[in-house]
């Protein structure tokens, strides 16, 4: 990871599961690999599409039970991101707060970075989607989707940009190394 071009991201979600359940999920490298699927596999604009969906290998590099996990995600030999997850009980009856801080090797060129965002590769959006999907899996047991549903579209012209982002975010689940029912409440 080129620290000169690193970018720090943070995001938090509240999940209606116990801190113990969530800590269990995050301390399993395979689980973390699935949780961070959007972010760690799709950070660089120069990756091939097939590689963009590659499953990252995650190492747990630090554990501080029951609330902090540090991890490093690689695709091949390349470190794609590293970060830490803090799990803390929310206010009474408000679930458990999950805060993730990530350091990524980001595109340094402003125009390339803007183009990445237009292609749906905005790291901020990807991290949010990863944590949203984590919450959905823990609370609902599956990810909502409309991919594959019928419609009566007559032309492909219209909201193509919307579709590009929507398809990227939803299709990322297809090769994910996890069952849709894993972690179901």
């Amino acid at each position: 990871m080129d620290m000169l071009h690193s970018q720090k991201l943070t995001h938090a979600v509240t999940v209606q599961r116990s801190p113990e359940d969530l800590f269990t999920a995050w301390q399993n490298p395979r689980e973390v690999s699935g949780i961070l699927h959007h972010l760690s596999g799709r950070l660089r604009g120069d990756v091939e599409e097939s590689e963009a969906f590659a499953v990252p290998h995650v190492e747990i590099v630090g554990l501080d039970p029951p609330r902090r996990i540090e991890w490093l995600a690689r695709v091949g030999d390349e470190a794609r991101c590293r970060g830490a997850t803090e799990i803390t009980p929310g206010p009474p009856d408000r679930g458990t707060e999950v805060r993730v801080a990530v350091e990524i090797d980001a595109e340094s060129h402003l125009i390339k970075r803007a183009l990445e965002k237009l292609r749906g590769h905005d790291p901020v959006l990807l991290l949010r989607e990863d944590l949203r999907n984590f919450k959905q899996r823990m609370e609902a047991g599956e990810f909502p989707t409309t991919l594959g549903q019928p419609s009566g579209r007559r032309t492909f012209i219209g909201s193509r940009l919307l579709h590009a982002v929507q398809d990227r975010l939803q299709r990322a689940h297809e090769p994910a190394p996890r069952s849709a029912t894993d972690g179901a409440p």
Binding site: E142, P144, G152, R154, L162
Partner: protein
């Protein structure tokens, strides 16, 4: 299968599209037997909802029989008769646990998009804008119902399909509108809009103990129906100033609670109304909040304004200064469906509530274009229109 698809403002067509399939373990496929058009479908039909796409399948009030279930749906089986409301809810999040299903955290696949518009994402819903997920709707022969174990409600014996479809949306919306008024003995409740939701809100207000209910609209047959079936008083806003009329009917106090069951396409009187329609047509404003404005001005000091008519985007001319100066409580939500539907089906079965009189037209699905036109124009004394499949 056949489905009613949106092809642009004021244009729908019955198209042959692919059958839906199970996409997630908690899905079910329902073969629709009866579906209806809601006032909020007209917002989509008219092109007033941002995020609609040509080809989207419309409709969010339907009932039918289950034909297939996903691996994790254990409370339904093929052949079960079910009704489905507009809201798609996971049943496991903070909001679902508090029976506020339209706020579900986990059912909108386009939550990222809704967050840009609203700050937070509401639940997904059928047949609506892609801000709400873009789920294919219920005006179709077959519908995929996500989280069917929560959202497909079994219909009890003794409740007809027509009654069940009314319990899908308009009746729970009306009940929620009245519940948000926190009705106390002696209260006078004014309901703006005598469409199906307005009628159900007036019915619910009476059931919850309102002393008097006043219904405001301009369509004679809708006001007549409120008078005949609900024993409500009526105000025709084309014949009198609504605020003055409501103050007069309450000896100057104003109604204790006002329900806006109209929403973004309210018709204002005279030049003011034409100005609002012009701005909406030009895309300068998303809403025509005339009914909301009148509700705020008419409501008594310290009263409640309950908003269930649909709004989107931004609205001008909402008199927040009046609301604040009068100490009003504003409450609003999208209808919550699910658990409310089950309770209302029981009430219909027990004959405690029955809005069946609202159904004025029954058409085959092939006549959807004509049905939308008639419903939009309030033609042929149309209050509630059902499609048979």
């Amino acid at each position: 299968m056949k489905a009613v698809c949106w092809h642009g403002p004021n244009e729908v067509g019955v198209e042959t599209v692919a059958d839906p399939s199970i996409l997630n373990p908690r899905d079910a496929i329902v073969r629709v037997t009866l579906a209806s058009i809601c006032g909020s479908d007209l917002h989509a039909y008219g092109g007033h909802l941002p995020g609609m796409e040509r080809g989207d399948i419309l409709g969010h009030e339907f009932c039918g029989r289950v034909v297939a279930t996903g691996a994790r749906v254990r409370n339904l089986a093929p052949g079960d008769r079910v009704v489905v409301g507009p809201v798609i809810a996971c049943g496991g999040c903070f909001f679902c646990a508090r029976r506020r299903w339209s706020l579900c955290d986990n059912s909108n696949p386009n939550a990222w998009l809704a967050e840009q518009a609203f700050g937070h994402s509401p639940a997904g819903s059928f047949g609506s804008s892609h801000l709400f997920g873009g789920y294919a709707g219920g005006l179709a022969e077959l519908v995929r119902v996500p989280f069917a174990d929560v959202g497909a409600i079994p219909i009890p014996d003794g409740v007809s399909d027509e009654q069940a479809v009314l319990a899908a949306d308009v009746l729970p919306a009306g009940m929620m509108a009245a519940e948000m008024c926190d009705i106390q003995p002696g209260d006078v409740v004014a309901v703006f809009g005598a469409g199906a939701v307005g009628h159900c809100a007036a019915l619910a207000a009476s059931l919850l103990g309102a002393e008097r209910v006043i219904v405001v609209d301009r369509v004679p047959e809708r006001l007549e129906a409120a008078l005949v079936h609900l024993q409500a008083e009526t105000v025709d806003f084309q014949r009198s100033d609504v605020v003055d009329a409501l103050k007069d009917l309450t000896a100057g106090r104003g109604p204790d609670a006002c329900i806006d069951a109209v929403g973004m396409e309210a018709r204002g009187p005279g030049l003011s109304g034409a100005y609002e329609r012009g701005k909406q047509a030009l895309g300068i404003e998303s809403n025509r909040p005339v009914a909301l404005e009148q509700a705020i001005l008419a409501c008594r000091k310290g009263g409640v304004v309950s908003v269930v008519g649909s709004y989107t985007g931004l609205a001008e001319k909402v008199p927040l200064g009046a609301a604040m100066s009068k100490g009003l409580t504003l409450r609003t939500a999208l209808e919550h469906g699910s658990g409310a539907i089950a309770a209302l089906l029981a009430a219909i079965g027990d004959r405690r509530a029955d809005p069946s009189y609202l159904v004025t037209h029954r058409l085959p699905l092939d006549d959807a274009a004509e049905g939308f036109r008639m419903f939009q124009e309030r033609a042929n004394e149309c209050i509630k229109l059902l499609f048979r499949l």
